[in-house]
Symmetry: C3
């Protein structure tokens, strides 16, 4: 069975798909001076685009790990997260605090999703 | 192929199952004033319940990531972990230090397991 | 469907394989006094050995999470990572800072890969 890679670059692919399951990771593409709300909106929009590349959508998330750089962001993040997710389609979710590779990043999310 | 979601809530599902693979995450349900031993026992009991929802059990773990808030817990955790796992059925395992969303949480574990 | 476990020990297996997908985690086997370059080289060599146990190789990585103990290592790591990966075969990738279980460890990497 073939592996599908979306935009394979030297360090990472935007997504990989194998056996009906996609893996992708999002940080805000324009993090500089971007508020938490802006970074979350960017990540959700990017995630929807990544999901679309393998004929999936946000109703088909299986698992996410959310890395927050500060738990002061948790309450706001949770509200945006719930507003984004269609009812009844929440994935399994881990949430931990971690420093990220670019100090402008306020959060990073890894996703596992089912293709259609 | 359909995605099975166990107890889908607005922020997360207790487990998701797709293509024979389940994802779930556990923190102690009653962490307040709970010792490491108590939290680990809670997590293991919760994990067994989560596994049972998709006809799996602790012999069928594929991968775990263990987030400990303090490596002083590692030795005790490792002993409890070995005692819990049936011989010959240990998953792939990562273990890192991380702060968690509730200061009462001493650890969080993400699981990937095979359905039967 | 059976789960294949590579070298199951009491705390972890070197790899698990199910439904065509392998999970494994690497830290340097000889971390003491080992430079970043040495630890990365060890991890890559170990990863290739783990991949070979389920008839896979480094062209078939789906997803990795890289835990670095210090982002001062990121630039060097990225160069070694790009040099190791065959063109067009990069996985989905998360990279966060985390303390690891042994203070000698400079990094830990979790891998998800496709079997052949």
């Amino acid at each position: 069975m073939d592996i599908q890679r979306i935009n394979p670059a030297p360090k990472w692919s935007d997504a990989t798909v194998f056996n009906g399951i996609g893996h992708f990771v999002e940080v805000a593409e324009a993090p500089e001076n971007a508020s938490l709300e802006s970074q979350v909106a960017q990540i959700f929009e990017q995630a929807e685009a990544s999901l679309a590349t393998f004929n999936s959508d946000k109703t088909r998330l299986l698992s996410v790990t959310i890395y927050l750089t500060d738990f002061a962001y948790l309450e706001t993040f949770n509200q945006l997260w719930q507003d984004w997710l269609p009812e009844g389609s929440a994935p399994s979710r881990a949430c931990v605090k971690a420093e990220l590779a670019d100090p402008d990043y306020l959060l990073e999310i890894t996703f596992v999703a089912a293709a259609k």
